[in-house]
């Protein structure tokens, strides 16, 4: 299934060697390691972990209203506090055996996944002393740190795979012996903090067609000089002393990354999907991710954002603005899983969705909802533990009008790290968080 280019061709050596070099400041040892790895490909596999495992993160930006997503039909307070925007009981899509819960009526596609045993619903997810600032709370989720400091949690995971604790050199070696590709890819203009590691940096782009220098079409003579100038990143190191990493060094490295990634990624997304994706931004983005997975890029984490879910006014109930956002989400996700199944790659992939916070239980004066706290997370895929996990927070026992969380999001991360990615969650999360088992064992 995966491409196996001749690992000893000069091109492959150069490409893969450079991918790694450019993601690390520690160049000389890396080149050594890379050459070593090519001679010893069997060292690459992590015992017990299929090499091809992928995590796709779908971020619902702006604070998704969890209460209108997984609706607590069991709670009369829900209808009382939301006279203008509550989902009527008759419209909600009941979740199988679990009494008193229903999905938003726009999420029929997600209910299909649920019926097929591909969806896990984790309820009441949050963290202590919730922060209601979009940016702060998003940073907390992305760093897995309640002070919102440091690198991203997935960046730390990828750092650990590449050249640090636990897994030895597997991340680095992996890139050498297969189709290549960056460790993480974000579809969008800017890369999220979550993917930002000390050593491993994400690749981010919106459209693959623009992922190359256009002046080579003006004059072919320019291309070789351009290549020379943009592949100097290999020189932009200074013995690994991070603090002296200037903006100029950073630009040289990014330019090199861009050259190397350009060929790989443009080839990958040129693959046409077998499934019809919804004609909207999220649909296109999920289609691109499916194509890249299908092309065998050795990318571990894909990241995509949807929204804005910041529905302070005119949120709507069973129909309206929020409904539309949820419909795009559900339809896009369903198409994504159909495509992966058609490719035969569905077993390799786990998908997680989250938002920086839920919204207040009571609606506001503008037929909307203000920033709140706990909300559900979804895990999707054949390896997600199916069903409704954890219980819905009480709508009677509120904290100043907000739900009290009962599940720490870092427990969900811990399970993904331990059970899916086979990483040491204590180290990555920099603390012990009891895993909330979201992966089918």
């Amino acid at each position: 299934m995966l491409n196996q280019p001749d690992p000893f061709s000069r091109r492959a050596l150069l490409q893969h060697g450079l991918v790694m070099a450019s993601t690390s400041l520690l160049l000389p040892s890396f080149l050594e390691r890379s050459a070593f790895a090519m001679a010893h490909p069997h060292l690459s596999s992590i015992p017990g972990v299929p090499d091809e495992r992928v995590l796709v993160v779908l971020q619902l930006s702006g604070g998704n209203d969890g209460l209108n997503t997984v609706v607590p039909l069991f709670a009369p307070e829900y209808f009382k506090l939301r006279p203008g925007i509550a989902i009527p009981e008759r419209d909600a899509l009941r979740l199988g055996k679990s009494d008193g819960l229903g999905l938003h009526p726009a999420m029929g596609s997600l209910r299909d996944l649920y019926d097929d045993g591909l969806l896990s619903v984790v309820q009441g997810v949050g963290y202590p002393n919730p922060n209601r600032s979009h940016f702060k709370s998003m940073d907390i989720w992305q760093t897995a740190d309640t002070t919102a400091t440091g690198n991203g949690w997935l960046g730390r995971y990828l750092d650990s795979e590449c050249c640090g604790f636990g897994k030895g050199e597997s991340g680095a070696v992996e890139q050498d012996q297969s189709g290549g590709g960056p460790s993480s890819i974000s579809i969008g203009r800017t890369a999220p903090l979550a993917l930002d590691g000390s050593k491993v940096k994400p690749v981010a782009f919106e459209s693959a067609q623009l992922f190359r220098w256009s002046a080579q079409d003006i004059d072919k003579d320019l291309a070789s000089t351009y290549d020379t100038l943009n592949r100097r990143g290999i020189l932009a190191t200074n013995g690994g002393s991070g603090p002296k990493d200037t903006n100029a060094d950073f630009l040289l490295r990014t330019a090199l990354d861009a050259q190397v990634s350009s060929d790989l990624i443009r080839k990958a997304v040129a693959r046409k999907p077998q499934t019809t994706f919804p004609q909207n931004e999220l649909g296109n983005q999920l289609s691109m991710i499916a194509s890249m997975i299908g092309a065998g890029l050795r990318t571990r984490v894909y990241y995509v954002s949807h929204g804005s879910f910041d529905t302070h006014s005119g949120q709507g109930g069973a129909n309206g603005r929020h409904a539309q956002l949820l419909r795009s989400f559900a339809d896009g996700v369903k198409a994504f899983w159909q495509e992966l199944k058609a490719q035969g790659n569905d077993q390799r992939v786990l998908m997680m969705s989250f938002s920086e916070f839920g919204r207040r239980v009571g609606q506001n004066a503008s037929q909307g909802t203000d920033h709140g706290t706990a909300a559900p997370m979804f895990l999707m895929g054949p390896h997600a533990k199916p069903g409704v996990l954890t219980s819905h927070p009480s709508l009677r026992d509120l904290d100043e009008g907000d739900l009290k969380f009962n599940t720490d999001f870092r427990g969900v991360y811990a399970s993904i790290l331990e059970d899916w990615l086979k990483a040491d969650s204590d180290k990555v999360l920099e603390g012990r968080f009891k895993p909330v088992r979201v992966v089918k064992m």
């Binding site: 940016f135 256009s214 003006i218 100029a248 630009l251 302070h312 506001n364 203000d370």
Partner: protein, 536 residues
Amino acid sequence: MPHALRQPKDVRPEAQVSEPERDSQPDDKISPSLGAINPEQFGYAQARHLIWRAGFGGTDEQIRLLVRWGPEKSVDHLLNFGEKATMPAFEPLGAGQYRDDIMREPTDEERRAYRMAQQAQNEDELARLRNLRQDREQEDRRQIGEVQKWWLKRMIQTRAPLEEKMTLFWHGHFATSYRAIENSYHMLAQNQMFRANAAGNYGELLAGIIRDPAMLAYLDNNDSRKDRPNENLAREIMELFSLGVGNFNEEDIKQGARALTGYTFESNEFKFRKNNHDSGIKSILGQKGGWDGDDFVKIILGKRECARFVMRRMYHFLVADMPPDERMGASSVGPATRSVLRELGDMLFARKYNLKPVLRRLLLSHHFYDDTIMAQQIKSPAMLVVGAVRGLETPVRDLQLLNQAMDMMGQRLFFPPSVKGWDGGRTWINTSTLFVRQNVLAFLLSGQLPRGVDGTANTEKYDSLALLKASTDPAVAAKDVGAVTDHLLKLALGRAPAAGSDAIRGYFAREGNQVKERAVTGALLLITAMPEYQLC
């Protein structure tokens, strides 16, 4: 190699690598002095730095003019833009009249017609009324496109570049997006308010923002009433516009939101609705009283932390990358930078938030011209695009396309990504925005569009040889390849790095060592695709 300001990412020591202690890397090589530099220290590099940071770059002749003027005259010229003839307020581009009332609220009569149609269940009439509204929305989206083009053109043409630069700063600081408010006139009016106080008084801007229809709509204050205050505006004012995290608490937000109730607008004008205002006693930042929104602003301005916070944001925009404020512990910038920031922040406070004296001090200071500050800032997309036209004198070609490219590079004017504005610094750059940056320069220089972009190539001629005519170096005039290479590199990058020199000379050699327009344009395509071109 120059020593850089440390990035927040680098502060965290990696457990698994034993390296020299990172916190022992002070910025003690950066000058902490805010004393003015001497005229003899103000050479080509310094003048070029000034015209980039206090504007959008300039031509070789403009830079040499500033050198002749010396630092004081140059800085005063850039700062005192109010005295020069500035451009007319708004000249809509394109055909058709600009309408400032197109997104007005429905009149009573229109509401009545809609209600009647609803009651009569007259679906055709309802659809007709809805279509009318949609037509106006569509027309206003066209209008915001015109406003975008107008501002970009203004940045390119202005004789007062610092005015536009600071207007852009305030746009990112008090970030408001058309996407949420869907009213191009409100965005334009806000832009004019920023421009009127571009280097004026921050206090007036903060007082203006709570009366600004665009902001009131963006942060939902128009829906905030006594019985149900909306906290959005009070929160963002304290967190992002004035004090920064850590200098207020949740209770201050709640009380501030009460003070702001009733601050709303009607059509294009601010309106205070007394009936919706909560005139009760509130306690804000330790002060008790029957405060309204203007008192709320005054209480904030009375805090020294406010001046320091605003100063940090300006420093990040004009001088060097700063870690985001939320993450800025005392240790995340070095002592020299810290002392400069404190001194300037306190000066802003002492001068009652008048910006000009503080900017003057900064732009003349030793610190500002430090080697580690010059040519180390990553250009914003606006600086990249405007700077290329102003400095390399390329044709403008297509304002709409340039706006689209700016969107892809992460800076769509009037559409900041969130109320936090643009983060700037390294967040502008990733592998894909780097390609867009190279490609927009290729478009400006050659007129050629990248594959996958709709539209036809622009055929306006770019006279690259004109860049050589201005040079005072006889070897450039004589079309000596080495001299021409260095001239072009210095113009575009401020210096001629060896790797660039070798590569460009090699390119000229393959072109037969002929300094012709085609080859000079080719050399510029290559130079502007160099990673170093992203810096200013």
